[in-house]
Each structure stands twice: as C-alpha cells, then as structure tokens.
C-alpha cells in the first residue's frame, strides 16, 4: 500500500492529504507513459510547460514529466517526485504518512491537526463548531422534512441553549461527539 502525503494547504484551513495512485509510480519505474504520442520527447516539454503555467514549480514539473516518460526511478524516488508535483505548489510542511495512521472517522475531518510528533489528532476547539453545525443542519432538515409531509409531524424540539452549552463545555472529543438529540436519529 502506498503512503500518503499530509500537508498544510495554502488555500484551505483543513489539513490536506494527498493519496498517490500506483500507475504513475509504475511508469516512473519503467517509463513510456507517452510512448504512443508521435513525438514523446517533444510532448514531455509540452507537459512541463503546461504544468509550470498552471502553477506547478518548474523543477517539480520537469522531474515529473521526465520520470513518467523516461522512468528509472525507485518507488521512493517516484513518490518524492509525485509529492513535489502534486503538493509542492499548493501546500507546505509536507510529510509522508501511512494511511493506517490517519483517523478512520471523518466526522471531525476539518478539525484534524498535526501534533508535535507529526501524528494526526483532532483539535477539540475546531471540533466544537463542527459538531454544532452538523447538529443544526440535521435538525433543520428533519424539521423541514416533517413540515413538508402531507400528514405533518410535529417538529423536533430540542433545548438549543443547553446543547450549545454542552458543546462549549465538552472536555474531550468523545464527549463532544456524544452530544446529539435522540430525536435526530439519522446520524
């Protein structure tokens, strides 16, 4: 299984994770990605020009295009080239991580953060508004659904103020996650 690249994105507030595919790694080993092209060498230059124009760093674009066509790279070398081509121009603090070390639950995905030793954990302060937003939207949808039924159902009435307080005061991610009205059974 190929590893992933985790990095801080210039544009997004959330932590970004890039998952490379096996195909480019394979071709960087044996080359020939553009062999079917009438002029492979010239097309390599075209690809470098296109990538550079779209923001990819020139060295990363050249290394990527040449490796795809001419090969000769080990898996680690290929991953390094792919990392620079896909992540180098959009993020920083790029590190290789195993997919198994990433959280499997994406409920608080936008609260993912890296601690000092590089492991991914959930930032409790970022998780509080996420929990509230998910609860609020679900409540709104459920009440809208009940209202639009032919035989209307009573709206779900939850103690909003109390829930906000619970969310604000939750002492752990697990505790925060458990704050959910029973009436909103669709989770």
């Amino acid at each position: 299984m190929l590893p992933a690249f985790i990095f801080n994105n210039y544009a997004d507030t959330a932590l970004s994770i890039f998952y490379p595919r096996k195909e480019p790694v394979y071709f960087m080993g044996c080359g020939g990605w553009w062999d079917e092209h009438p002029n492979p060498r010239g097309y390599v230059d075209t690809q470098i020009r296109r990538l550079t124009k779209s923001g990819v760093l020139p060295d990363a674009a050249a290394a990527f295009a040449k490796a795809m066509q001419f090969g000769g790279k080990t898996t680690n070398e290929a991953l390094e080239i792919i990392k620079n081509r896909a992540c180098g121009h959009v993020g920083y603090n790029i590190e290789i991580v195993s997919k198994e070390d990433l959280p499997h639950d994406r409920w608080f995905r936008n609260a993912w953060t890296r601690n000092h030793n590089g492991a991914v954990s959930i930032d409790l302060e970022k998780a509080r508004p996420i929990q509230w937003e998910r609860l609020r939207i679900t409540l709104q949808r459920e009440n809208t659904r009940r209202e639009q039924l032919l035989f209307e159902l009573p709206k779900v009435d939850v103690p909003i103020y109390s829930i906000k307080t619970y969310i604000k005061n939750a002492s752990s991610v697990d505790e925060l996650r458990r704050i959910w009205p029973e009436e909103l059974n669709v989770r």
Partner: protein
C-alpha cells in the same frame, strides 16, 4: 668421352677437348639455340579422348623445353598433359573448346593444375614444376578488358603456333615492354596483375551472374571466382531462411538510387505498411476519417473519449479510490473538498467535466450531491479541485459523499 646434358633443359655440355674445330656448331645448335627455345611456345592439340605428353630430347629441339603452352582441341572427357619431370615453369593458356578440363602434371606426379576450356572460362595461368608435382602460381579466366588484353597477347602467340623453331621475340608478348625491349621477361607477377586490372573495362550495368575477380590476403583466394550474386549475398549476410523474425534485415532497392543496398528490418517494414492503415493522434483528434483503423494506443485521443476519470470515496476510510485513468492521485482537502491531479495535463482549462456523487449510507446527509468549483484556479490544466455539497429539502452544505465520480473530456 661423349657429351653430357643439363638436367632441366637438356642442353648439350661438350666434353672438354671434344669436337675439335667443330665444337662451335654444336654449342650454337645444341645449347644456345635450345636456350632460346626455352622461351618459345608449343601448341598442343589434345585428342578427343586421351592424354598427351610433351616430347623431351637431349640436345635437340623438343616440346617440353618451351615455357609457353597453348592447348587446343575438343576432348570429350577430362584429359592430362604431361610435362617433363624436371624443375621448370610454364605459362599456360587453355584454348580447348567445350567444358572439359586439362590437367597439367608430371607423369607419375601426384599433384597437377586444372585448366578449364572455353566453355568454362578459358583459364590461363602460370604453373611451376618441382620435378615431381606441378603447382599453380596463378590462374585466371578471361573476362572484360582482361580478355581484350589477353586476346591481343594470345593472338600473337597463336600466330607463332606454327613457329616450330621457337625463339621469335614476339612470342614473348605477355612480358614485352613496348618502350624498352630490354625489359623482356622482367615483369613481376604483381606488375602483371596491375596491368591486367588497369585494363578491365568499366561496366555500365551488372547482372547477378557476372563474375568478379577476387583477391585478398589469403593467397588461396587469388583468382577465385565470385559472382555479383555471391558478393551481394555476402555483403548482406543473406542466407536461406525457414522463418522470419522481426529483426531480420532486407536489402532495400527502390527508384531512389540513394536507397539501394540499405537495410530495413521486418519490424520497420511492418510499421511502415501499418502506419498507413492506422489512425495517428492527429487523425483521432480530427475525428473525421471513416477508413482508418484505431489501435489501443491511439483510441484515447478521440474527442469523445474521456481524457481522465476517477472514482473515489470521501465518506468512509480516507483515500479510497475505486478506479482511475490518467490520475496521479487525489488530495483530500477537508470535508467535501477533493483535488484530482492528472498524469497528463490538458492543453487548456476548457475541458468538460461530467460528475456524479451520491451518499448511500452516510451520516448526516442523504440524497443528492452537487459538485462545485468554488474558486478561480481550481480548474487547472494539471489538476481539478472540486467541492461537494449535499443534502435534502433545500438545506445543503459542504459534505463528504460516499462515492464521487469525475469524467473529463478535452484535449491532451
């Protein structure tokens, strides 16, 4: 005491004191004249079947003393001509009609030299006898300018065929320097060849069966016969093949003289032929031909073929891609945000996006999802960043989808 005779040419050696007052006549007729005869010609007409022997006489004229032999006749089988079993050399020309050979040898000798008749090239050459065996110094056939040259020589020789006394200067034409008669018999074999080759006339065309003179550093091949066909085969290393491999080479001959003799492999030949039958990238991109066949390596250049597609899952385990094409990888940028990176960049950002995303059993959001490109620059030639919003009943938000599918059409 009686006279004795030399071993090789049988010249008389008078005993000292013999032939008082008459020894000069003996010396002139039985020694000096016979020495002159040594450079003469003998013309031997071979019978229809059977061998012949050059005559040998001590102190008087004979055939075996002469160094030039012209052989004529039309034997019906291969024949032998016996020369004296003494050390000597002979310049031989075989003018026999037909294809039978004459072997020049010593009676009792084990080795001889074969000369073909006119039907097989009218061979001529120089042989030496060591007293036991006759061996070849050089032997050649009459071709082109060489034939013309030797024809003149041997015409003179033939004219002298009736000169039974021998000794005429013109009989020695093969070795005659017209500008200086002092060079008689001083022509080296190498010089002889140089003169011969200098007179080979240029051919305006060559047939496969034409013969060539061959000489190399291996003396065994001197005067060997090679045809144009053999030379051609040797040059291209051609041998009879029972099967053909892709790397086999063929000599190329076409109306462009510069291509004559060039090699082409079967693979190249095949590619050249097939290139005219299969669509190139430009044919696929034009998409107008109705006669060209499409190979797997060209199919994806058609405008109607997706240039990239990817199917991935953002709701469950991160980084799960189901299938991809022309995709280096997927970036998970947060809830509902993904970026597909292309292995081959598009020529422009004007490519078409077809997408479908759905939530099958996700939490919080159900039903349909929509794709959005939220910022300028998210749609780039080398990547595409998309945001998925999902939800029901008028309330949507950025959210993960169980299954995200993208297919992109455009120009690579």
């Amino acid at each position: 005491m009686a006279s004795s005779y030399t071993t090789r040419k049988r010249l008389e050696k008078q005993n000292p004191g013999e032939n008082n007052n008459a020894w000069g006549g003996y010396l002139n007729s039985n020694a000096i004249d016979l020495m002159d005869e040594c450079f003469g010609i003998v013309c031997v007409a071979m019978t229809t079947a059977g061998d012949s022997t050059l005559s040998q006489n001590n102190g008087s004229t004979d055939e075996g003393r002469r160094s030039q032999i012209v052989i004529t006749g039309t034997p019906t089988s291969n024949v032998r001509l016996f020369v004296p079993a003494v050390q000597s050399f002979y310049l031989v020309r075989n003018k026999m009609a037909g294809t039978k050979k004459v072997t020049l040898t010593n009676s009792g000798g084990t080795n001889g030299v074969d000369f073909s008749g006119s039907g097989s090239g009218s061979e001529q050459g120089l042989v030496v006898s060591d007293g036991t065996n006759v061996r070849e110094v050089f032997r050649t056939v009459s071709i082109g300018g060489f034939s013309t040259f030797t024809s003149a020589v041997w015409t003179a020789v033939s004219d002298a065929a009736t000169d039974t006394t021998g000794g005429a200067t013109q009989d020695l034409m093969p070795f005659l320097d017209a500008s200086d008669s002092g060079n008689l018999n001083k022509v080296l074999v190498t010089d002889f060849f140089k003169n011969v080759l200098a007179n080979v006339s240029a051919r305006t065309s060559v047939a496969l069966a034409d013969r060539l003179m061959v000489t190399d550093t291996d003396g065994a091949n001197i005067a060997g016969i090679a045809t144009v066909q053999k030379l051609h085969d040797a040059a291209f290393g051609l041998t009879a093949k029972t099967s053909i491999a892709g790397a086999d080479t063929f000599p190329l001959n076409d109306t462009d003289a510069s291509n004559v003799g060039k090699k082409v492999t079967l693979t190249n030949l095949k590619a050249t032929v097939l290139n005219g039958l299969y669509a190139a990238q430009s044919d696929q991109e034009t998409a107008t031909s109705i006669i060209l066949a499409v190979s797997p390596g060209r199919q994806h250049f058609h405008p109607g073929h997706p240039k990239s597609f990817v199917s991935w899952d953002n709701s469950g385990e991160s980084g799960t891609t189901n299938c991809t094409y022309n995709c280096t990888g997927i970036t998970d940028g947060g809830t509902g945000i993904s970026t597909a990176t292309f292995s081959t960049a598009f020529s422009s950002t004007g490519y078409c996006i077809a997408d479908h995303s759905t939530n099958i059993a996700g939490a919080g959001n159900t039903g349909w999802y929509s794709l959005n490109i939220s910022a300028v620059g998210d749609k780039a030639v080398g990547s595409l960043k998309v945001t998925h919003a999902g939800g029901n009943y008028g309330a949507s938000s950025v959210a993960d989808a169980d299954e995200n599918n993208l297919a992109l059409f455009g120009d690579l």
